[in-house]
Assembly symmetry: C2
Homo-oligomer: 207 residues x 2
DNA sequence: GTTCCAGTTGAACGATCGTTCGAACGCGTG
DNA sequence: CACGCGTTCGAACGATCGTTCAACTGGAAC
C-alpha cells in the first residue's frame, strides 16, 4: 500500500497546526512548536507551506469554505424562512462543534492575517453575513417587521454562535442538538417575537 | 500647578497600551510599540510596570472590576427580575461601548495571561457569570421555566454582548441605546418567551 | 552648595523568532 | 549500479523580542 499523499500530509499538518493554534494562539505558537506537534522537522514544515501566515490562511479559508458549502446545501430547496434560519444555525453549530479547533482559529485569529490573505477571508465573511441577512429579510417579509434591527440581530446571532469556543464542551452534558435547539429558540423568540413551539422547530432528531 | 501624579501617568500608559493592544493584538505588540505610543522610552515603561504581562493584567482587571461594580450599582434595590436583566445588559453594553479598546482586550486576550494573573481574572469572570445566572434563576422563579437551558442562555448573552468589538461602530448609525434595547429584546424574547413590549423595557431614555 | 530621590534614558543582554539552504535520504526507473 | 526526484533534515541567518542596568536629569530638603 502506498504511503500518504502529499495532500494528505498537508491535511495532517493543518489539523495539527489548528489544534496548537487553538490551544496556544497563533502568535504565541512558533514554527518549532508546529514541527514538534506534526512530527516533522522545522525545515520540513516549509516543504508543505510557504509561511506561517499561509498556514493560518489555509486553516481559515478551507474551513470557512466548508461552512459556506454546508450552509448552501442545507438551505437548498427550503422555502420557509423560519426553517431556513433553523438550518443556517444548525449547519453553523454542527460544523463548529465538530471542528472546534479550526473554528476557534477562524473566529479568534481573524486579525492575524494581512494583505491578500485577509482580504480573501473577509470576502467569505461578507458573503456569509450577506446570506444570513437575506434570510432575515425573508423572515420579515413573511412575519412582519422584526422587533430588532436586522444588522444587530445578525451579528448578535454570530456572537452567540462564535462565542461557544469560550465555554462549550462537546463532551459535557449539553449535546449539540440541545445547543442548536436552544440557540434557535433564543434567536427566533427574540427576533420574530414568536413563542417558538417545538412544532415550529422541525429538527432531524424530532419525532 | 503640579505635574501628573504617578498614578495618572500609569493610567495614561494603560490607556495607550489598551488602544495598541486592541488594534494590533497583545502578542503582536512589542514593548517598543507601547513606549512609542505612550511617549516614553522603552526603559521608561518598566518604571511603571513590572512586565508586559502585568500591563495586560492591569488593563483586564481594572476594567473588569469597573464592569462588576457598575453591575452591582445598577442592580441595587431593583427587584423585578426582567428589569434586573435589562440593567445587567445595559451596564455591560454601556461600559463596553465607552471603553471599546479595553473591553476588546479583556474579551479577546483572555488566554494571554498565565499563573496568578490568569486566576484572578478568571475569578472575576466566575463571579460575573454567577451574577447573571442568579438573575436568570430569578426570572424563571417569576415567569416559570425557561425555554432555554440557563447556562446556554447565559453564555449566549455574553456572546452577543462581547462579540460587538468585531462589528460595532460607536460612531455608526446604531446608537448605544438602540443596541442595548435590541439585545434586551432579543434575549428576553427568546429566553422568557414573552413578546417583550416597550412597556416592559423601562429604559432611562423612555418616556 | 550639597544631598537625595523620583523619574527617565541609551545601550546592551540572552533568548527566540520565521525563514533559508545545501546536503542527505529513500526509492522507483534506466 | 547509477540516475533523478520527491521528501526530509541539521545548521545557520538576521531580526526582533522582553528585560535589565548603570548613568543621568531636575527639583525639593537641609
Amino acid at each position: 500500500m502506498a504511503g500518504p499523499t502529499r495532500d494528505q500530509k498537508l491535511d495532517t499538518l493543518l489539523s495539527a497546526a489548528a489544534k496548537v493554534f487553538a490551544e496556544r494562539g497563533y502568535h504565541e505558537t512558533s514554527m518549532r512548536d508546529l514541527a514538534r506537534a506534526s512530527g516533522v522537522s522545522l525545515a520540513g514544515v516549509y516543504y508543505y507551506v510557504q509561511s506561517k501566515e499561509e498556514l493560518l490562511y489555509l486553516i481559515q479559508s478551507r474551513n470557512f469554505e466548508a461552512v459556506i458549502a454546508g450552509m448552501r446545501a442545507a438551505l437548498e430547496g427550503v422555502t420557509d424562512p423560519i426553517e431556513r434560519i433553523n438550518r443556517f444555525i444548525d449547519n453553523h453549530l454542527d460544523y463548529f462543534v465538530s471542528h472546534m479547533s479550526e473554528m476557534k482559529v477562524l473566529s479568534h485569529e481573524a486579525g492575524a492575517l494581512q494583505g491578500d490573505y485577509l482580504q480573501k477571508v473577509n470576502d467569505m465573511k461578507r458573503e456569509y453575513t450577506r446570506a444570513l441577512m437575506d434570510v432575515l429579510a425573508d423572515v420579515e417579509r413573511e412575519h412582519g417587521p422584526a422587533h430588532v434591527n436586522r444588522r444587530v440581530a445578525a451579528y448578535s446571532l454570530f456572537g452567540m454562535m462564535n462565542w461557544i469556543y469560550n465555554w462549550y464542551d462537546p463532551l459535557g452534558d449539553v449535546g449539540v442538538e440541545l445547543l442548536s435547539q436552544n440557540v434557535c429558540h433564543l434567536f427566533l423568540g427574540g427576533y420574530v417575537g414568536l413563542p417558538v413551539s417545538d412544532a415550529t422547530l422541525p429538527r432531524s432528531s424530532a419525532g
